[in-house]
Symmetry: C2
Subunit: 444 residues, 2 copies
Amino acid sequence: MSPYATPTAPRPPLRVALAGIGVVGGGVVRLLEANRALIARRAGRPIEIVAVSARDRHKDRGVDLSRYRWEDDMDALVAAGDVDVVVEMIGGADGSALTLARRALGAGKALVTANKAMIAHHGIDLARIAEEKDTPLKYEAAVAGGIPVIKAIREGASANEIARVYGILNGTCNYILTQMERNGASFADALAAAQAEGYAEADPSFDVDGIDAAHKLSILAALCFGTRLDIGAVTADGIRGLIAADIREAEALGHRVRLIGMAERDSAGNGGALYQHVQPCLVPADHPLAYVPGALNAVVAEGNFVGRLFFEGAGAGAGPTASAIVADIIDIARDEYGPAFAMPVDALDAAPAADAGARVGKHYVRLIVEDRIGVLAEIAAAMRDAGVSIESLIQRGSEDGDDGVVIVLVTHEGPASAIHAALAILAGSDHVVGAPMLMPILAL
Amino acid sequence: MSPYATPTAPRPPLRVALAGIGVVGGGVVRLLEANRALIARRAGRPIEIVAVSARDRHKDRGVDLSRYRWEDDMDALVAAGDVDVVVEMIGGADGSALTLARRALGAGKALVTANKAMIAHHGIDLARIAEEKDTPLKYEAAVAGGIPVIKAIREGASANEIARVYGILNGTCNYILTQMERNGASFADALAAAQAEGYAEADPSFDVDGIDAAHKLSILAALCFGTRLDIGAVTADGIRGLIAADIREAEALGHRVRLIGMAERDSAGNGGALYQHVQPCLVPADHPLAYVPGALNAVVAEGNFVGRLFFEGAGAGAGPTASAIVADIIDIARDEYGPAFAMPVDALDAAPAADAGARVGKHYVRLIVEDRIGVLAEIAAAMRDAGVSIESLIQRGSEDGDDGVVIVLVTHEGPASAIHAALAILAGSDHVVGAPMLMPILAL
C-alpha cells in the first residue's frame, strides 16, 4: 500500500478492539471519539472501535460503550474476524493480560499495550511472536505516559550510539519529592498528600520502591543499547529512606533530589555490560531534570552525535496514556512500524549486568548519629579505611524531631563500592542511628 | 518487504548520495562512518554513501572523501542508477538546492534535507512531487536540529488536536539572550560575543531578525494543524530592539526573555485562521522554556489529550544536524515513512492568517522617556485612551548610559491592537526617546 493514498482512494478503516476499560480505556474511547475526524485525516483512514471487553459490563465508566460490541470473553476479540488491532489495558505482568497478548499476536493481530510490567517481563517473548506472525507489537504508553519517548529513541535518535539514558520515570515519586521540597514535609506526610490527591495508591510500594520505574528503565535500555530486555538485571532503591533533611541539604549543595532510573554501558567495557539502576540521586540545579515538577516524567538520552536530548511531559493519567496508545494505533494504520525493539529479537545482544560497585562518581552520604564526642572521628576513620575521599562534610543539629545529629558528606569521585564498605564499617557503630542514605550525584 | 527481515536474510544496502559537503555534510560522513555497524543493525540493512558532490573538490573538509565517487555535477547524483537517497545540504531556499530537490524527487529518488528555507518556501511543491513519484521527502534536520521534533509531532502527538506549538527555534538568539542575562550585556556586545564564539554569522540578520525561526515555525505549524505551509503568513520581530534593561526588568518580574516562535489557532474560530509569529516574549520562570540555556533549542506542543510536551536539545551544529539527517535515512531504510506533511497535500487545509492584533494576553511594554514632569501622565493617558489596562508600572533611572528614564509597564489581559494604538499615540510625543519594546507575556 502506498503511503500516499489520497482521500479520493480511501483505505478501509482500521478496526480496533479494547480489552480492559478502566481509567486508561475510558481515555482511549474518549480520544478516539473526540478526535475522530482529525485522526482519520492523519492516519489516512478511519480508526474504529468495533468491540470492547472488560470484567464488569455494568460498571459506570463515564463513557458510552453501548455503541460498541461487548464481549464478556476476551478471547472473542482474538477470534473476531473484524478486529485488526487489540489494545491491551488490563494490566499486570502475567495473568489475563499476558494470555490475551500472546493469543492476539499469535492470531496475527496487531497488539498495542500500555503494560510496562508485561513488556518488562515478557517483551522479548511477545516480540518473537510478533515477528513470527509479521504483526506489530507497540507499547509507547508503557514508558513515560504521553511523552513519545519510545519513538524518539527508537527512531529519532536512531543514528546515535547512546552513552546513557536516564530520567524521572515515576510521577508518584516525583510528586512526593516535589512536596518534600516545597513544604519541608517528611516522606510519610508527602506520601499521604500524594495519596489524598490520587497520585499514589493505597499500597504505594510499586511506585515508591522504584519497581514501576525499573520496568520502564529496562524497556528504554533495550531500545537504546540493542540489548535483550532483562528486567532481572535492573536493581532499584526507592525513596522511602529519604528524610526532610536530605532534601534541604541537597538544596544547600545546589542540587535537587530526584528518583532517577539510569542505564549506562560499563565504562570499562566488560563485554558490553550494562548498568541499570533506579535510585534517588542529587541532580545539579543546572540540569533540566532538576526542574521537572510534580507528577511529570522526563527522559534524557545522550547520543554520540546528537548530544543531550531532553523530553518532558505527563507520565500518567487517562489523557496522556490514551494519546500514546492512539499514536501507536495511528502508526499501525499508516503502516509505519517495525520490530518492537527496533531490530529483530535475534539481533539483540545479551548484556551482562555491570558491577554497580565499580561505578565511579561523586556521592552524597547522610548519617544520623548520636551527639557524642568522637563520632565524627569514627566516621572519618571509616571513610579513610575504606578509601573514600571526602570533599565536604556538614554537621547540623537535627530538625527532624529525633535526638540525632545529621551529618552529610560529599565524596570526591570514587567507586560506589568504597562507600558501601565505609557504611558497612559504620553499621557496626553504636553511635550511628538508623539507616544511612547514599545517593550518587548526577554527573552532567 | 516485511519489517521483520532477519539478519540471515539481509536486505540490500540503502545507497546514499550527499550533495553539499560543508560543516553538516562533513558531520553526516563522520556519523555514517563512526556508527556504521550500529546503524546497519538498527536500519536492518547497511547504509552506504556511494557518491558525493560539492562545489570545490579540493577543499579540506576534515573528512576523507576519496573512497566515495565524486561528481562535479550534482545532476549526476540524480541520474545515477545506484543512488536511492539524495541528501541535500547545499542550503538556500532556491537556486541549486531547489533544482536538485525537484530533480531528485522527480526521478523517484528519496530526498532528505536540512534546508528549512527551502522547505518553508517550497515544501508543498516538493511534497506534491514526492507524492506523484511515491517517494519519501524528509526534513527532520530542518527544525530544531538534533531534536526529533518533526517525528514527535507528526507521529508521537498524532492523536491530539494541537492547541498551540511554540518554542525556541534559533540557537543564536538564545545564546545572545543568555549572554545578556548572565552578564548584563547590551545586545551589541552579546552579538559580538556570539560572533566571536561562532554562534552568529558576520551578517546576523537571518538569525537575529527571526527569519530562520519563522521558517521553522511555518513547518511546525503545517504539521500541527494540517494546514498548507505558508511562509508568507508568518510574521517576525527579532531581538535587535532589546536593551539590557529589558532583561533585568523581565527578571525582576519573575520572567526571562526568549525569542519565541508560536503558532496557534485563532481562539475566535474565524475559519481555522492561524496565528504564526516570531517575537521576543516574557517567559514565566516556572515554564521550562525559561531554563533553556545557550544555543539550545526547545519546542512545546500542547495537545488536547497529552497536555504539554516539551523537547529540548541542540538546535544546530554538525553532530546534531547529522543525527537528524541520518535518522531520516534510517526511516527510509526501514520503509517507515509517509507523506511529508503527515497527510497528502490535497488533504491539507489552507489556513487564513489570524488577526494578530486581536490576540488577547498580558504584555510587557518598555519605553525610554525624557526625565520631565508630565511624561508619566502622558503615557498613562495614552494607555487609557487606547483602552489598555495597566497592571503595574515601574520607573527607573536608566543604567544604559543614555539620559533617558526607563518605564516598564505590564498590562492586564487585553488585545495587542490596543497597545499598538497606545504606542502610536506615544510615537507622536516629544518626550519618548527611541523605539518602545512590546513583548507578550507567555500564558502557561
